[in-house]
Symmetry: D2
Subunit: 119 residues, 4 copies
């Protein structure tokens, strides 16, 4: 079974067990986890800050792996945050996709990055 | 089938179709998407900044839904970023979990938030 | 003359000279600098993420100096960003303070963190 | 006297008075303020995320003013954070500039964005 079929629910459960085994639950309150997400995103962004858009789209294999692990860090803390708040992240993503489909109808938003309230 | 069993791969594919229908691909280069992730995380953090840890752990239903949709935004742009870079985010999360298990052995890290290189 | 009397204009000019001597101007476009600010803020936030509010208010001297240097990094890139955009940051801060005084009148906002549009 | 000669110390003192008048001191602990800086930087970055580097360097007057006010927000919360931690931000900027001059000697770093430890 390829890794990519794993669900967010599966990841969530493994992260909870990981934190539980290490007695990290008291660090992992939502306020702290929101900050941890922000910290990891800072590290993700740093990989791209001095690159041109072209360079950023053509990373070396080594840099791409560094970026992949930073992106994973963002996901892991984000899932952990949602878990502690009782949020089902996959379900929230569904709701957001449905909202986006309404906010950005194909006809109006084609080829434009304009924010929905300025369309 | 509950939503939560959906894979990241499924979400990735739907996001790609969503952007494609709207001809957004030229906005969605990795540099731009890394910034978009940072922007959404800023919105996520704003929900928590003036709350005590206790308040942050006890959000109202309305605020929790706002947070859920911000968390979804982070996930959606993160998945989109990985897609454009050819990164399988679920597989990267697996690699990161395996690295974390080595970096933070249960015996050494129990009850401590110390960064691994200071353990 | 104590350091603290230095103006933002003085800092701006020295940063411009620093970048110019190193031929960094082509890296220092506004898009890149905005990302650099975000990256540095991520590092700043990381210092606080696992601390309780009480611990965060009582840093060791060593940690406080690390935080001071991260805060300086944020300021330096922020000044550089403003410089490249032709924004006078000190004047913008004046305008923002004046706006805040209107948005948050003492009578209405006393003791409340409510955002102005919800007052 | 042009606004731009105002010192950071002057701004710091006025921000402290502003918060004091509104009884905001209990919200303004360092952990909260670090998050507030991150939140404002997210808003700053959002202005640039879909722009090409060329577009980002040529903002309309209206957008430039929006960016100026976001940059001001970052500065104001950053100064407030430093104040609550007993950090003199202008002095920290001096120390950081001196460190940068050592880490990035002109001869080695000319025209390169390489991080100092990889020079």
């Amino acid at each position: 079974m390829p890794t990519k079929t794993r669900s967010l629910e599966d990841l969530r459960a493994r992260l909870a067990a990981f934190a539980d085994e290490r007695d990290w639950d008291h660090f992992h309150n939502p306020k702290n986890l929101a900050m941890a997400v922000a910290g990891e995103v800072g590290e993700l962004v740093e990989h791209f800050q001095w690159l041109t858009p072209e360079q950023a789209a053509n990373l070396s294999a080594a840099t791409r792996e560094e970026v992949a692990l930073e992106a994973a860090d963002v996901l892991l803390f984000l899932l952990r945050l949602c878990d502690k708040l009782g949020i089902d992240l996959a379900a929230a993503a569904e709701r957001k996709l449905a909202l986006n489909a309404k906010k950005y109808p194909v006809g109006k938003s084609r080829g434009r990055a304009t924010k929905y309230d300025k369309l």
